[in-house]
Symmetry: C2
Subunit: 206 residues, 2 copies
DNA sequence: CCAAAAATAGTACAGATGTACTACGCTCTA
DNA sequence: TAGAGCGTAGTACATCTGTACTATTTTTGG
């Protein structure tokens, strides 16, 4: 069995390698600390039975790199490793079609069980986290493309006039969009909107 | 030798325990996943020779919990473990007087050497990161208490009047503070200020 | 104790922001 | 083809925001 382990924390890799050996007979582990290295390894290999991918990788995150892994080794089930028990992240991961989401807080016994499950074609997602996520019944926020564009510019601290210039429209139009955005996000001003955008993952804090 | 290992990632603890055993003869390792548990362990123990503390812990972060560790076991050298190679964080850690800062990306050989150094009374800080930190010459941003309070409220999307009400001062005064904050942060409006505050770690995105 | 820094507060003003309207063209779908 | 939704744009208006002043009181450090 061939496993590829991508995580920038060398010691965590060491710990996980021990766990993987409990998985069974002949486990052959390739490891690296970045997506870029992982791509090279896959190209030089004959495919893996399992890819364990840290979501929080430097340069190219696991989420960003996921598609490339799919291309390079379409048959390998991909499991996300994550330091954060983030409900949204898990949902996104599942949407992206990963076969598992393993929080690094899990102890080795549970991880072994989870990986066995995944190797048999199942999925593993920590239930406590999914239950948590069900609660809020948090209504999906849907914005039009234009609204997302403008929300992004708002989040950069741009003024209405600047936004109008950038998009080549009248600043009255910008205001109309902004009013609409505020209603959808249920906020009253651009600073609240910016933070709402952050929380919804619509913008990133650079 | 007694070592306390506080990290919420069970597998990382496993990896690190292996490394610690390389440190020498009789290493006795206590481990847990949160500061709260760690406090209990220290109270029930006779003191440690080394405390390894993850900075990014749930509920109480390593940085927040540091003082309490100091109180409970003043003689134990404290070493931060961190998943992020963050220059600012390292500087802050050193200011707080920790004896070492170990990025989780380090491999085991280097960690062993670093821990040996620290056990002998030295300090370990990854040089590549410190060099990096020198470059930006990023001037420290110093705000008064009042300014921080107001910056926080700005980041919550509060209007000047609301801030004035909350703090029990005139909204003219709020404006004066805000003008000062903008100059210090080199920004032009409250949304930019909110994001600058985020980047500087002055507020958290809840 | 004095000087500097911080916090307070006022007046004044230009410009930005947010809302409420109306209105028109475009695209898609029933 | 009618209606819905989107993007565009205008007018009007009340309010908020940010800056530039001046000025007083409190706190703090040398």
């Amino acid at each position: 069995m061939r496993v590829l382990l991508v995580d920038d924390h060398a010691l965590f890799r060491d710990g996980l390698k021990l766990v993987l050996k409990q998985l069974g007979e002949e486990v052959e582990i390739s490891e690296c600390g970045t997506c870029e290295e992982a791509y090279e390894i896959i190209k030089e290999s004959e495919g893996f039975n399992l890819i364990l991918l840290d979501v929080d990788l430097p340069v190219i995150s696991g989420i960003e790199g996921l598609q490339e892994f799919r291309k390079l080794d379409p048959s390998a089930p991909i499991v996300f490793l994550s330091g954060a028990d983030d409900q949204k992240l898990i949902r996104k991961a599942l949407e992206l079609g990963v076969m598992g989401y393993i929080p690094k807080t899990l102890n080795s016994e549970i991880i072994v069980q989870a990986l066995r499950l995944i190797m048999k074609g199942g999925r593993y997602v920590p239930d406590n986290i999914l239950l948590q996520a069900d609660e809020p019944a948090h209504q999906e926020i849907i914005l039009t493309m234009r609204q997302k564009e403008i929300l992004n510019l708002i989040s950069q601290g741009k003024a209405n006039k600047e936004i109008a210039n950038i998009l080549g429209i009248a600043d009255n139009t910008v205001r109309v969009h902004i009013s609409a955005i505020f209603q959808i996000l249920k906020v009253n001003n651009r600073t609240e909107a910016a933070f709402a955008a952050l929380q919804e993952g619509l913008v990133s804090p650079y």
